[in-house]
């Protein structure tokens, strides 16, 4: 077991390089983006713009973590496909449920929802 620890890896040369640095740099960038997310809610943009910016920033963080920390960028494409199947289905279901419940016919009615009691 220990014999192979010190051997060279001809097949994956990139393991011996700046992966460490890539990871640390990414962590810094993610911290900055998180800070930006926190700040943007206080900026007086219209709501729809703020929400869009927040969603975009989250998406960037999300993709960065899965492709770099979780190594999808360097792995076989099938791993990416597999994960995106679940992601798209989950996101799609979430979106559909929100659309359905946002429709006028799905507004709950009753005393609990009326302003004046």
């Amino acid at each position: 077991m220990s014999a192979s620890a010190t051997a060279e890896h001809p097949a994956d040369a990139h393991a011996n390089d700046g992966k460490f640095h890539i990871f640390v740099e990414l962590a810094m960038i993610l911290a900055v983006i998180t800070g930006a997310e926190l700040l943007v809610i206080y900026v007086p943009f219209p709501n729809s713009l703020v929400i869009t910016i927040l969603m975009a920033l989250s998406a960037i963080k999300f993709m960065a973590v899965i492709f770099i920390f979780m190594h999808l960028k360097w792995d076989k494409p099938f791993c990416t496909i597999l994960f995106f199947i679940g992601l798209i289905l989950g996101g799609g279901t979430l979106g559909a449920l929100l659309l359905i419940h946002g429709a006028k016919d799905s507004q709950p009615v009753g005393p609990a929802y009326e302003e004046q009691v």
Partner: protein
């Protein structure tokens, strides 16, 4: 089958040192026969067999529950069952048939046949495979505990609509935990299904024999893959929904509690996000089996293989987009209703494409009308009829009348019995010679088929009219002046004929197991790899890992004997140079961990927290020891002559 002349411990060290003395805790059991060999098995064939007999047992239980229902409805104003018992019966009939009969019977075939079809010796994670079975058994026990306790069986329907599943509707007087047991049972079954499916996905993607590209896979293996995807992607939704119900019942939350701001409709959405893919989980394996049987007994390859595979994928994918067609009458609004209606109509297309391809397979084929073929042809016709009533449901205005009526009952029994069950019964006949080395008598097999066919149609065809005449589902009795009396009586008679047919089928199978005519290898002149090995198969499946050159790999082998023989000789030498065939070791920890889950869940459902925590602790310890015992394994060195084994492994 002469097996290991030598059996060597597999070690992970390059120097091949002998393994040092390990603690007795991690000594791998190596029984080949007897009870312990079954409790600790990791052999996919044995696990498949276990799933199979469990499923067949629960199929009878579910059938008995169905007969209870039909007796109660045979005549108007009947007093055979109380309303409460009736509710328990239809809940348990559906839950049992779906989760404890059809799904595990499909799992039996996935386990037994799929690794053989891809030329593998086992699945990717053998102990996890065993674990999935024991957890399934735990779930089955939890669901059926109600037969033995005062609070009775779950009575909220197999779909457990909120707010009926709320604590308020559980009778306080008998400490009613029937709904809690239902929730825990389904959760545990979900764990089993997801774990098993993850295993199958890795196996099919990663353990194929050399040369077996995806487009050369047998269709049954493709359908196994799609079903596994459906399971891992749909079960989370019901897991969440059940967690929410459990929290409402036990922690006072308001997920579905209207007075607290909850929305019962959300339960329906989450349930059907699972529930619709679930029905494709029930039918895709059946379609896979039929796609194996029809070509074999038409003496022709499957017509339009790529499109059959692609249609399976499309059905699976679209299946996630149609769930609210179970909710057309809940007032979602025009846009949502129209969208789901369109999506539901769309899903009929790939289904229809498959049917045309099956017909194309039969067309101009040399049809061998053996028993598996009878069931397969029955499938094509009966499933089509179920599909027609399904398409009628997809039109939301028409569905407004059909919803919650017997028309729906007719529809889903046509697709589930006429579809899934027929195909599974066909599969049992078809693969019986492989698994047990014996062939079922043609006369008795066909007799059982016809009695089942007649009984099934007598029961469910009239229900279309019953539904159109307005009889609602899930009502324990009806009045004599509704005009439903005659049809109900006919349906009950049909149900008993169906029962007799099933009884004949079972009797035939049991007789054949003990005394049936023995057959040699490949009795049907098959096309796929599972027929290339001795029957019953030896534990290591293939003496030599097959190399695949074309679709219908075994057919190619039969047509190119010399080439294959030379290849096998080369591969055998290579295997031997590697130290022989590597086999996984048995283990106690899958069943131990599953026992922890069983006890923990039962205590939790009874609101006894110390017991629940103890169960959790056992689960954790079992899993931890499992990871520490390591992969283990041993080597086999089969002899050159691959004789047929006369002894069954069972």
């Amino acid at each position: 089958m002469d097996q290991s002349l030598t059996k060597s411990e597999f070690v992970g060290h390059p120097e091949h040192e002998p393994v040092a003395k390990r603690s007795w805790l991690f000594a791998r059991p190596d029984h080949k026969t007897g009870l312990v060999s079954w409790l600790t098995t990791v052999d996919h064939k044995r696990i498949g067999f276990l799933y199979g007999i469990s499923a067949l047992f629960f199929f009878l239980v579910g059938g008995a529950e169905a007969l209870m229902i039909r007796i109660q409805l045979a005549v108007p104003n009947n007093t055979f069952l109380s309303a409460q018992t009736y509710n328990e019966m239809f809940t348990m009939h559906a839950t049992t048939m779906i989760f404890l009969a059809v799904m595990p019977l499909s799992a039996a075939f996935f386990n037994y046949i799929m690794p053989l079809q891809i030329g593998a010796r086992d699945v990717a994670f053998p102990r996890l495979n065993g674990f999935a079975f024991w957890v399934f058994l735990a779930g089955a026990i939890i669901l059926n505990v109600g037969f033995f306790v005062k609070s009775g069986l779950p009575d909220v329907g197999w779909f457990g609509y909120a707010p009926m599943s709320a604590k308020a509707y559980s009778s306080e007087f008998v400490g009613d935990m029937s709904s809690d047991l239902w929730v825990m049972g389904l959760q545990i079954l979900g764990v089993s299904s997801v774990i098993g499916s993850l295993n199958f996905i890795v196996t099919i993607i990663n353990m194929r024999a050399p040369g077996l590209t995806m487009m050369r896979l047998p269709v049954f293996t493709w359908m196994t893959l799609f079903t596994a995807f459906l399971i891992i992607l749909s079960f989370p939704a019901i897991t969440i929904a059940l967690v929410e119900v459990m929290m409402d019942r036990n922690f006072g939350t308001h997920f579905f509690e209207v007075s607290g701001g909850g929305l019962p409709i959300l339960w329906q959405h989450l349930f059907w996000v699972f529930g619709h893919p679930e029905v494709y989980i029930l039918i895709l394996p059946a379609m896979g089996i039929i796609s194996e049987i029809l070509p074999c007994f038409s003496r022709k390859p499957l017509f339009g293989y790529p499109i059959v595979v692609f249609s399976g994928a499309v059905i699976g994918f679209l299946g996630f987009g149609v769930w609210s067609h179970h909710m057309f009458t809940t007032g979602m609004g025009t846009v949502a209703t129209a969208a789901f209606a369109l999506a539901t109509m769309a899903i009929a297309v790939p289904t229809g494409v498959k049917i045309f391809n099956w017909i194309g397979t039969l067309w101009k084929g040399h049809l061998m009308m053996r028993t598996p073929m009878m069931f397969a042809l029955g499938f094509v016709w009966m499933f089509m009829m179920g599909g027609f009533s399904g398409i009628m449901h997809s039109a939301a205005p028409a569905d407004a009348q059909q919803q919650d009526s017997y028309f729906v009952v007719a529809h889903f029994h046509y697709v589930l019995i006429g579809g899934s069950i027929f195909a599974l019964l066909a599969g049992i006949h078809y693969w019986f010679p492989l698994i047990f080395g014996r062939k079922v008598s043609e006369f008795w097999g066909k007799l059982s088929f016809w009695v089942i066919f007649i009984g099934f149609n007598t029961t469910f065809f009239p229900m279309h009219f019953l539904g159109l005449n307005g009889m609602p589902r899930r009502t324990f009795t009806y009045d004599g002046n509704m005009g439903w009396t005659d049809i109900n009586f006919i349906a009950t008679v049909g149900a008993f004929i169906l029962g007799i047919g099933i009884a004949v089928y079972f009797a035939v199978m049991i007789y054949t197991y003990y005394k049936g005519e023995r057959v040699g290898r490949d009795p049907w002149d098959g096309r796929t790899l599972e027929w290339s090995i001795p029957n019953p198969p030896p534990p290591h499946n293939f003496d030599v890992t097959p190399h695949v050159h074309a679709r219908d790999a075994f057919w190619y082998e039969k047509e190119h004997k010399a080439e294959i023989a030379a290849e096998k000789a080369r591969q055998a030498a290579e295997d031997e140079a590697h130290g022989g065939i590597h086999m996984p070791s048995n283990s106690w920890f899958p069943i131990i961990t599953a026992c922890g889950m069983l006890t923990g869940s039962l205590f939790f459902a009874n609101h006894y927290m110390p017991g629940a925590i103890a169960g959790l602790a056992i689960t954790f310890l079992g899993a931890w020891m499992w990871s520490l015992e390591g992969p283990g394994g041993y080597h086999l060195h089969p002899t050159k002559d691959g004789g047929d084994s006369a002894d069954s492994n069972y």
